[in-house]
Amino acid sequence: MEVQFLFSLMTGIFIGGVAGYLGALMITKRMALVGDALGHVALPGVALALIYGFSVSLGALPILILGIVLIWLFEMRTKLPMEALTGIVFTASVAIAFLLLPESQVSAALIGDISQVGFWDTLVSAILSIITLLVLKKIFYKIILANLSENLAKVEHVEVEKYNFIYLACIAVVVALGIKVTGSLLMGALVITPAAAARNFAHNLSQYSYGALIVGSLSCTLGILAFKFSGLPAGPLIILAATLLFLVSLILKRLA
């Protein structure tokens, strides 16, 4: 029992941290809702994983990649706005998922369930989170510069397309990991809320990015502790803990 709880806690801390760090970039690039949309895109993969009993993240990742490629192809062919195409793909994914999902698994798919994560799942989540964090750390400044001025970044020999691709790949990995923790319905909050809270108190980029990481991990810790004591589902509790920290950051901002 205690070991199981530690696994849940570790999984949450690692995934919450990297999601917060990624969120700092996503808010800056005005892509805050992308995490939310992709969380839905992944649902058919989550459904298959729950039916056949393998890791939710493993099911989510290929479907996410397929979804991103589809959106990208549609955009090339139609020149319609990206958000409209994302809307089409994510609602279609939700529709497919609900035809597949047995009723007993709906809640795990939508709001996550880390109460049963095992040793290997925890280990893989931790390793993937650390690798993604290191990659993001490496591209962070370059993405910010390209976001300030793409031309300026290119003149400084930043390969903007390459870094954008790596960034998208990181989003796919983090969404796949995050779905395990808070489910596809709440995944978006795991990237937005901690980063938004950090933005309220940060004066510079390192306070912002590491602040988001800490708030993300802290939200998961508080949420999972609350789950242990209340028995209520962990996913919603984690998001509410993040929201609470966001409100505290707003008060701190007022006082500053």
Binding site: Y141, N204, S206
Partner: protein
């Protein structure tokens, strides 16, 4: 004579099927100041971006080998809520604190530690523009490309940028290409002026080419300096 830093021959640029620049020829020598003048929509910014390799072109653009370019883009803006400090902005270029304060001094800002901790988005437009010029200068480029540094800056800010440009003119540490849609006092300090409206209108030393007749060709009226 030494090889020019930049040699441009028969340069033409098409964007979306439209000819934006046609048949331009000019050179830039070491430590020379070239001002590119022309009305709005004349293709000046496109010319700078083409020189930087950001657009396709026909003709020849030849930079001297290993030329290091600093660039100040047009309309560089920073969202006021982006938590990016002045110091961190310079860290994109891995500049040391000494190099940062030196670059800021070149453009007439005393880079106190308080200033370095400021958010980039909290600076006035004039200050921000000057910080970007310092940023472009910090790793000592051989040539500095400035795209409309005065545009969108309030009157007080324009004066400070003007002072910055005069400092750079005097210091003469690098070649400069300045793009502007208006002719001002700075033009007098230039070595060469290239006026264009898609094609060349005139090109040469300011003493010879800044005449009432020539200016009327760009702006369609009588203007004198």
């Amino acid at each position: 004579m030494a090889e020019p830093i930049l040699r441009v021959r028969n340069l033409s640029v098409d964007l979306g099927g439209q000819k934006v620049l046609e048949d331009l020829d000019f050179d830039l020598n070491e430590k020379e100041i070239l001002i590119i003048l022309g009305p709005n929509g004349a293709g000046k910014s496109v010319l700078l971006r083409t020189l930087l390799g950001l657009h396709q072109f026909q003709g020849q653009i030849k930079w001297r080998k290993d030329t290091h370019i600093g660039y100040v883009p047009e309309g560089f803006d920073v969202s006021p809520d982006l938590p990016l400090s002045v110091k961190e902005f310079f860290q994109f270029k891995k500049a040391s604190p000494q190099e940062i304060s030196q670059a800021l001094r070149w453009i007439g800002i005393e880079g106190s530690s308080q200033f370095l901790e400021k958010r980039l988005g909290a600076l006035s437009t004039g200050q921000l523009r000057r910080v970007i010029i310092a940023w472009a200068l910090v790793d000592k480029p051989d040539v500095l490309l400035l795209d409309e540094p005065m545009l969108g800056v309030d009157i007080h800010g324009r004066e400070t940028i003007y002072d910055t440009l005069v400092r750079l003119w005097k210091k003469q540490d690098q070649a400069i290409i300045l793009v502007s849609h208006e002719i001002g006092e700075v033009a007098k300090g230039a070595d060469k002026i290239l006026a264009l409206d898609k094609k060349k209108i005139f090109y040469g030393n300011p003493k010879n080419v800044i005449t009432a007749k020539n200016l009327a060709k760009i702006y369609g009226g009588a203007i004198s300096l």
